[in-house]
């Protein structure tokens, strides 16, 4: 009997070890390739690395230089404009499409996938399509001229002051359908009994939305904001495919800045410091959100 118990004990101990052994490779990968690499890049941002990593510490010099560069301030300003417009326009379009679709619309099953399919495309494909539509010589402007609207002008993509808005336009095209799906899921989760009760009390549709429905969509608003803002900070492919950062530097974003300073201009220290700023921006949004999400679960 005692022997059997000892054997069972060993097996139990082994059984408790196996999960940890199986989890270990994934964990090691994440610790090294994500957190180790983050630390390495942070370290590099305090060194005088140029074409190759150097371990010679120079304090905050790269950060000081970074914020003196007009190139960087353009990228930051562009990100501000882009993120603000992209997030707010996507939210407005997504919310209204969801509310409209929620009115017992015939053909909803057809419309929903149409709104959402751009999300399945690569930003490079989106960029290719819009680059051409926005090209005044051949795209929308040209077509309007052919249709007889001679004075029609839509050359934003060639215009330094307006090019950033074309990036917003293409990005909204790609992701607003996704925001619609998030809000629609939120709307479908609202209990109809409350709405019916409020209607019997004589509440107007406007008041129903303002007082009952929108407040209940708070989690959807929060998720949309978090997802869209992290997409905005990470935006890289779309700019490369649509404008290449131009004309001039008119559509340069932190992500394109980091790439060109690190890999084309051989200013790795400055490139690393710009990546650290990007990470901190995203962490400021994501960490509290994930923390709250994980705590709720318990």
């Amino acid at each position: 009997m005692a022997q059997a118990a000892g054997g069972a004990d060993f097996r139990t101990r082994l059984q408790h070890l196996i999960p940890k052994i199986v989890l270990a490779p994934s964990l090691a990968m994440v610790l090294v390739f994500v957190y180790g690499f983050i630390l390495f890049t942070i370290y590099l941002s305090f060194t005088d690395s140029r074409i190759l990593p150097s371990f010679n510490l120079v304090g905050f010099e790269n950060y000081v230089k970074l914020f003196k560069l007009s190139h960087w301030s353009i990228a930051i300003t562009n990100l501000g404009v882009f993120a603000f417009l992209y997030i707010s326009i996507c939210t407005v379009i997504g919310l209204f499409l969801a509310i409209f679709l929620d009115q017992k619309i015939r053909g909803e099953g057809m419309l929903r996938p149409i709104y959402l399919y751009p999300m399945a495309l690569s930003f490079i494909v989106t960029g290719t399509a819009w680059k051409w539509l926005l090209d005044p010589g051949i795209g929308i402007e040209h077509t309007m001229h052919l249709w007889g609207w001679e004075s029609f002008a839509f050359d934003w993509i060639k215009n330094r002051d307006y090019a950033i808005y074309t990036v917003v336009l293409a990005a909204v095209w790609q992701t607003s359908g996704f925001v619609m799906a998030m809000f629609l899921a939120g709307l479908r989760g609202i209990d109809n009994e409350i709405l019916k009760a409020a209607q019997m009390d004589g509440a107007s549709n406007w008041n129903l939305y303002r007082r009952i429905i929108l407040p209940q969509l708070r989690p959807a608003f929060l998720s949309a904001f978090v997802i869209l803002s992290h997409l905005a900070v990470k935006s890289y492919d779309l700019v490369i495919a649509l404008t290449g950062g131009g004309p001039g530097r008119a559509t340069e974003l932190p992500a394109t800045f980091m790439y060109s300073y690190t890999f084309s201009r051989n200013q790795m220290g400055i490139g690393a410091s710009s990546a650290v700023i990007m990470l901190m921006t995203i962490a400021a949004i994501m960490v509290p959100y994930l923390y709250a999400e994980l705590r709720e679960k318990k």
Binding site: T143, L146, G271
Partner: protein, 293 residues
């Protein structure tokens, strides 16, 4: 929840409904047109695009641009078309999706049914890795791939996509297994079933839907990736997105728009097909990637 009706209880008048349909149809056009016009124009000869109206139907319908983009277009140095890059993408996507999904399933199983102290923190660390701006890992990753001799190879790209993909795949399976009855696992344990046996016989048979969601999500993400492909690949491993960008944005010669469009459609086709065939799962993946639980 008393009656779980899927529609709203809001009532609308006739005039409002006409307006609703109008707006909804306009937006459908907004989403359809860019890609639709691109498809239409890929079937025209170049002269009809540069000299004609993009909204017009082709006068001469031709698949020349499609043939050209696939096997003849000049990308980089060689006039190979997009064909080799398409296979590069396939060779990269298939193992990366398979490995990250298997690891995600195992991780999700452990993090919900074999819980230990600190598991939520570990999961939080994995989850955050999904959202980092990848610029923060580009420099050390380039060094490591160089040192290990994986730079410029498909194997290197597979490694990169697995590493940065397991956060999401773990998330999917963890949330799915979290609502799976733990009593079943405990009962099997009492009957003497071990770690792998329980996974194989009890968890996996009921994991069909979430596996589809996870595979679709990873496939779409990895196929559409540009940053890693542009940073770490060379000719033998460059994925479709990078090749398409080279094709469209190379400054030499006449811009063959119809070839660019056909190329873009090739690059979009696999993910679009998946979306059309399994759109329901695609949407579910998107949602659980954002609204956790």
């Amino acid at each position: 929840m008393a009656v779980a009706s899927t529609d709203t209880a809001i009532r609308t008048g006739n005039a409002t409904r006409v307006l609703l349909y109008l707006v909804l149809l306009l937006f459908a056009l907004f989403y359809l047109l860019p890609f639709g016009i691109m498809v239409l124009n890929s079937l025209k000869p170049l002269s009809e695009i540069t000299g004609g109206n993009m909204m017009a139907l082709p006068e001469v319908w031709t698949l020349d641009a499609w043939r050209n983009a696939w096997s003849q277009a000049q990308i980089g140095v060689e006039p190979t078309g997009l064909q080799p890059y398409f296979w590069n993408s396939i060779k990269m996507v298939v193992p990366a999706v398979a490995i990250s999904t298997v690891l995600g399933a195992l991780n999700g199983y452990i993090l919900t049914k074999w819980r230990f102290r600190g598991d939520t923190i570990l999961f939080g660390l994995m989850l955050f890795s999904c959202f980092i701006p990848f610029q923060i890992v580009l420099i050390p990753m380039a060094r490591i791939l160089g040192i290990t001799g994986l730079a410029g190879s498909t194997a290197g790209l597979v490694l990169v996509h697995v590493v940065y993909g397991i956060g999401f795949s773990t998330l999917y399976f963890r949330n799915y297994y979290a609502v799976f009855p733990t009593e079943l696992v405990r009962a099997a344990q009492i009957d003497g079933a071990g770690f792998f046996r329980i996974f194989w016989r009890i968890m996996l048979p009921s994991s069909g839907p979430i596996t589809v969601v996870c595979v679709i999500w990873q496939f779409t993400n990895i196929w559409n990736d540009f940053l890693f492909g542009a940073s770490f690949a060379d000719f033998d491993s460059q994925p479709m997105t990078v090749a398409l960008n080279n094709l469209v944005n190379s400054s030499t010669g006449v811009k063959e728009y119809n070839v660019h469009f056909a190329g873009a459609i090739y690059a979009a086709l696999p993910t679009l097909l998946v979306y059309i065939v399994a759109g329901r799962y695609f949407v579910r993946g998107l949602m659980s990637g954002s609204v956790k639980g």
